[in-house]
């Protein structure tokens, strides 16, 4: 999926291209419904492949198919027994995290740690929730804003980055800075680095 990491991600190991695209579309924004042409365009997949896959997913109860006027709409079935699991899996793999990780790939060697925090990481997000991203590294806010700009349309959500240089992050954590101390222990989706890197920065 990523051009920067040719190795498999969880998403590419488990799912094919069409399935990943449909997961990202339906399970990142489960409150939204889409019609076929939208699905094909947004997910950048072939119409035939999309139709076959959609029919299977509807039959399995993963999606709901409704007709309004002469248009057929598809939407995630929140009543499916595996809805919560698929949503969680998507957000951690084919969804938000992957999209953001790829967008940051060009700056990755200058970033110590980057993670999603807030409602998106806790799984308590609403339809209009932003995606909050904390980045610690030798990068500027301008570079990060430029790198993440295009992801907002893809995710259908605002992406709000906060950028710290390692020295300031360390200093503020040591001083018991409320927001950073809370973010350090709250649920997160790591994009670059992990708990170990965060510990090294003083968390």
């Amino acid at each position: 999926m990523s051009t920067v990491h040719p190795v498999h991600t969880v998403a590419t190991a488990l799912f094919g291209k069409t399935q990943r695209a449909l997961l990202a579309l339906f399970f990142v924004r489960p409150e939204q419904s889409f019609y076929l042409r939208q699905i094909v365009r947004t997910a950048a997949i072939g119409q035939g492949a999309a139709q076959r896959e959609l029919a299977r997913w509807v039959e399995a109860g993963l999606l709901i198919r409704t007709r309004r006027g002469n248009q057929v709409y598809y939407q995630a079935n929140t009543a499916s027994p595996v809805f919560a699991e698929l949503k969680g899996l998507t957000i951690k793999t084919a969804g938000v995290a992957d999209v953001l990780r790829e967008a940051l790939a060009g700056l990755a060697d200058r970033i110590k740690v980057a993670f999603v925090h807030g409602s998106m990481a806790c799984g308590t997000e609403k339809a209009d929730s932003d995606v909050d991203v904390l980045i610690v590294g030798r990068v500027t806010f301008g570079q990060i804003a430029a790198a993440l700009h295009g992801t907002q349309e893809l995710l259908g959500r605002e992406v709000n980055p906060t950028v710290y240089v390692p020295r300031e992050f360390h200093k503020k954590l040591r001083a018991g800075h409320h927001f950073l101390a809370a973010a350090a222990v709250a649920p997160k989706l790591f994009l670059i680095g992990g708990e170990r890197e965060l510990k090294r920065l003083g968390a």
């Binding site: 909050d132 500027t140 806010f141 301008g142 804003a145 906060t162 927001f179 950073l180």
Partner: protein
């Protein structure tokens, strides 16, 4: 889309400016740029002040071009208009707009979502914009340019 298209969409309102108005707007920007450098300010506040300076500069350039932003999405339009007024590069406009959103979040939600690095970067961007607007005025609208150059 040009500024006149924006006006037709109701995003901008035609406006006749004066040397006094431009001097006032740039005066507010200069005051903010000075205040922003005061020691002891929180990052949230520094960013908000520097952002305000940048917004005044953008509003001055828009006024010189014959418009002001109508009420809806006022800040957003003023920022986006920089592409059409002083020909600001899209990546700088995007950066300023990202700071606008950051400031909204900072204002109403969690304190500490703004770092020292970001506050400094916003200040540098506001200073750049202040200088760019003045240079543009000197080259294109001499009669509206400040009599004395920007304080340093």
């Amino acid at each position: 889309m040009s500024l006149s298209d924006w006006a037709r969409s109701g995003w901008l309102v035609e406006h006749r400016t004066s040397p006094q108005e431009i001097a006032d707007l740039l005066g507010v920007a200069d005051r903010d740029l000075r205040d922003c450098a005061r020691p002891g300010l929180s990052e949230d506040w520094q960013l908000a002040i520097a952002y305000n300076a940048a917004l005044q500069c953008a509003a001055a350039a828009l006024a010189v071009s014959g418009y002001r932003a109508s009420r809806d999405a006022h800040h957003y339009r003023v920022i986006q208009s920089l592409v059409h007024t002083i020909g600001m590069e899209p990546h700088l406009v995007r950066q300023l707009d990202a700071f606008r959103k950051k400031r909204n979040v900072g204002d109403y939600e969690r304190a500490g979502l703004i770092s020292e690095t970001e506050a400094r970067e916003m200040l540098a961007l506001a200073q750049t914009l202040r200088k760019r607007v003045e240079d543009w005025l000197r080259q294109n609208h001499t009669h509206l340019a400040p009599r004395r150059p920007m304080p340093t």
